[in-house]
Symmetry: C2
Subunit: 298 residues, 2 copies
């Protein structure tokens, strides 16, 4: 549990990551990222002149053994890997922390959508395992409220707090205090927690219907285990499938999904589909899944 002085409030997760890069990344530094991963952050790191290296992701999350020796920092989404949806296993979490200790590196944990949890067991942040002050936790209200708020935060190790506050100050002073004040009241009065509880119920119905629709495609698509977030992934059993072609056929039928290969950086990526349910009514899911099935089996 973080206290107020441990938190740096930012204009969304993207600014949070920008401040972290500004403080930690020098031009030419090697930075490791998940591959497939979140290209907007890779691009951000490149604007800081980092050398960005993709590390493969499997069903346990980032393959820690494949982390480059010289990386200064690794950017991770352990709760619900983007885009595959994998929750990082405990073994991999420990391995990443061990790697960070051995290489004097920093782990940046972007917990972008794990407010929405669909499993009984608790989902702890990687930072809760950190005994060494190596994990920078980044959170956002973009998924639980709305991206246009530009409200996010960092919980850094104590050693980085002052530098992050200074980076924030030189770029946007205190930020938008009007929005921050309204959000603080919204949180303090319990509205945010109540909203997430209500929204989780709504999303759970949609999610269950997406998963139900995938059952009939089990011979073609294997669902990637996940417990949180606003999308699920399924990988093609046949690795020669072109997921972009499937995405195009689905789009022609009015169903919008993403191909995992779109989020590939440099590592080979097994083809698959990321199916979001953040913007569709539960009632519309069954028909959409039928249309998706028709696109998967043309």
């Amino acid at each position: 549990v973080a206290s107020a002085e441990d938190v740096v409030v930012t204009a969304g997760a993207q600014q949070a990551l920008d401040l972290v890069a500004r403080v930690l990344v020098a031009p030419g530094d090697v930075v490791a990222v998940e591959d497939p991963g979140y290209a907007a952050v890779h691009r951000l790191l490149e604007t800081h002149r980092a050398r960005v290296r993709g590390v493969p992701v499997d069903d346990e999350g980032l393959v820690a053994d494949a982390l480059p020796d010289r990386a200064r920092l690794v950017y991770l989404t352990p709760s619900h890997q983007f885009p595959t949806g994998v929750t990082m296993s405990m073994a991999r979490r420990s391995a990443v922390l061990r790697w960070a200790g051995e290489h004097d590196a920093v782990v940046v944990e972007d917990d972008y959508d794990s407010e929405y949890r669909f499993a009984d067991q608790p989902l702890e942040p990687l930072q809760s395992l950190d005994r060494d002050g190596r994990v920078v936790y980044v959170g956002t209200f973009s998924k639980s409220l709305l991206p246009a708020l530009r409200a996010g935060f960092v919980v850094p190790p104590r050693s980085l707090t002052a530098a992050l506050r200074e980076a924030k100050r030189v770029t946007t002073w205190e930020g938008d205090l009007t929005t921050q004040g309204a959000l603080a009241s919204f949180l303090a009065e319990g509205h945010h927690a109540a909203h997430v509880r209500r929204a989780t119920k709504v999303y759970r119905v949609r999610r269950d219907r997406v998963l139900a629709g995938l059952v009939g495609l089990d011979d073609v698509l294997r669902v990637v285990p996940s417990v949180a977030g606003l999308h699920v992934c399924a990988r093609f059993r046949d690795e020669s499938v072109d997921d972009r072609a499937v995405v195009a056929r689905a789009a022609a039928r009015g169903v919008f999904v993403e191909g995992l290969s779109t989020h590939r950086r440099e590592q080979p990526v097994r083809p698959g589909l990321a199916i979001g349910y953040g913007g569709i009514d539960a009632d519309a899911v069954p028909d959409a899944m039928l249309r998706l099935a028709a696109a998967v089996r043309p």
Copy 2:
């Protein structure tokens, strides 16, 4: 006059300047600034690993002849130099643009508080003289509305617009669209223009009373000519005066002003006082000026 596609909306002038630096400044680049000047921006430029060089300011503004040959960029406040309050002369404006053309450099014009104008002649931005696409204009709503809005903008030369939009996108996406939407309506419906007209009248009364109070100190302090903004400056005729000591004596009497030497970077700075009237009632100004006079003549 800029059209919508020429404007990049930012989270205040500080983020605008951060984006400009991100696009234009490479590590090790020499960047020229006014000296005395605005330290928060100098610090920002230093976080981009620029080598920041102070250039002297006199009663015509930045001394263009003293600009370093190798600078990539010069940061200026031509309408109302911070902190001296000087309006840059036409000769100096032309000289700076000529220098920029000869050295393939960029001029960043920070027009931080010139909504409040107290002269009959119009006050044009330096950018209006630019025939060469060398001036990046930065504006803000922090002075006309409030800093907590974090609402500013850049009007760059066309050649830089795409890069600035991309820098904005990788750091904070579109920004706070809620605030931007409210501000757009406020502007479109004429409320902002009406507010500035009303506020200018209020500030003019305060400003006149500050200037009236300085008349009695004319043997000690020479008022720096200025036509805009929310503060006026006066320089000590005796260059050996320690303006910080005067500021401390004034503070002990409950009057808060700033010493010009506080804003010095590396150039010799003639001592003086910056007297703000943004946060004092007009009725309180005459007494405050009497107390300031007592601090000036201890």
